[in-house]
């Protein structure tokens, strides 16, 4: 048995175990713990496949942020979950198992019947990369070749925040999100919230700046910034902003707005929507990425913070 296999086999088995655990777990808290471990293991697999950008995104968004959202949901549901005593009937459970198995089989068959040499645009994308001035092909695809997808992704992010905010009660509409911070008066968490953010800020900006040429990017960097802000909020060192604050709303749409403006300018300057005039491609991409990072970090943090609950003080 060679080293590669000796390493990949246990990781693969662990991955399947974590996946099975998060499906089979009875309560939502245990399922979430399984899901987070599953995400971390998946990131190791992506690393093994040399897909560092995907690994970073998986750790930051797939495992970290989604895990945090699910943990928050599990905490809110805990009381309700304990009250549910009615279990689905045996027939219903068998039916659900059959439906799930059918989906799994369908996916497996689809994967197995894919053509051996999968259709790929990787070659042309790498060949056209010098025109963007970027060194990281993943970022080139995200910010130039498939810029429209990335732009819409940011719009969806803002819409999701609107969705969370629309769950606010009438009185909370002018208030602040209420973050649960059971450790707010705790010196330990306050110490971390004072020590880590400078490092995190630098690291987040580094991920974005470096993303032009090496693995990283605005989304991964912004997740780090959002985590730092959440840490400060959870330690009780700062209060979540009122959601009616003008600066907050401007910041929440700054990314997509800048992207749209640069895209429209591309119609005149480069002949197509979201096209960059070639000599300035890289600087324009960085110009779009900075406000995008602001939007992503603010929206992600506010998604975790939840809908505003507290009525505004006089």
């Amino acid at each position: 048995m060679n080293f590669e296999l000796g390493y990949e086999l246990p990781v693969g088995l662990l991955l399947l175990t974590a996946a099975a655990w998060s499906v089979a777990a009875r309560d939502s808290y245990s399922a979430t713990v399984g899901f987070v471990s599953y995400g971390l293991l998946i990131a190791i697999v992506w690393m093994q496949l040399q897909a560092f950008d995907v690994a970073l995104a998986e750790v930051a968004i797939g495992s970290g942020l989604t895990g945090l959202l699910l943990l928050g949901a599990a905490a809110r549901l805990r009381a309700a979950e304990a009250r549910v005593t009615v279990r689905p009937t045996l027939a219903l459970r068998i039916l659900a198992a059959l439906a799930c198995a059918a989906v799994a089989v369908a996916i497996a068959v689809t994967v197995l019947t894919l053509p051996e040499a999968a259709p790929s645009l990787a070659g042309p994308a790498v060949a056209a990369l010098p025109a963007t001035g970027l060194g990281n092909p993943v970022n080139g695809v995200l910010m130039a070749f498939r810029a429209f997808d990335t732009f819409l992704e940011k719009v969806v992010l803002v819409l999701s925040l609107v969705g969370v905010w629309s769950l606010a009660p009438d009185l909370g509409w002018s208030g602040r999100p209420r973050l649960l911070h059971p450790f707010a008066d705790d010196g330990v968490l306050r110490f971390l919230a004072r020590t880590l953010p400078p490092v995190g800020l630098l690291f987040g900006l580094h991920l974005m700046w470096n993303g032009a040429d090496e693995p990283g990017g605005a989304f991964q960097g912004a997740t780090v910034l959002a985590a730092m802000w959440l840490l400060v909020l959870m330690a009780g060192l700062a209060e979540a902003p009122r959601i009616r604050a003008r600066w907050l709303r401007v910041a929440a749409v700054a990314g997509p707005a800048t992207f749209l403006a640069v895209g429209l300018a591309g119609v005149g300057l480069a002949g197509a929507f979201l096209a960059y005039p070639e000599p300035h491609a890289k600087s324009l991409i960085l110009f779009v990425e900075l406000p995008m990072m602001l939007t992503i970090s603010i929206v992600l943090a506010l998604l975790v913070a939840g809908p505003p609950e507290r009525a505004s003080e006089p």
Binding site: D186, V188, L189, L192, T195, L196, V199
Partner: protein
């Protein structure tokens, strides 16, 4: 010289892995949350420290070595904080019962 460095790496990383192994055994065998935390934090702090120490001679450049040390320091900071927070919750839950 390089053989000596390799030997150092093997010894230090093996010692680190031993700490992780002991931490996992403790996590599985110890009776309550506080003692389990006690076992785990040793694995995190000393185990990772020894692994990083062992990898230092293999680092390609000074900055790579610095990065390894920085990873260890960050894990120390996070591990110490999270350990304290979990211990606090465990103690509160214990006194409430």
């Amino acid at each position: 010289m390089s053989a000596l460095a390799d030997l150092f790496t093997v010894v230090a990383v093996s010692a680190g892995v031993l700490f992780f192994l002991a931490g996992v055994v403790g996590l599985l065998r110890f009776p309550d949350a506080l003692t389990r935390l006690h076992a785990l934090t040793k694995a995190d702090n000393v185990g990772l420290g020894l692994v990083v120490l062992g990898l230092l001679p293999q680092a390609g450049s000074f900055f790579e070595a610095l990065k390894l040390l920085l990873v260890w320091l960050t894990v120390l900071l996070a591990g110490a904080t999270v350990g304290q927070l979990i211990a606090r919750v465990a103690r509160q839950a214990g006194t409430r019962r």
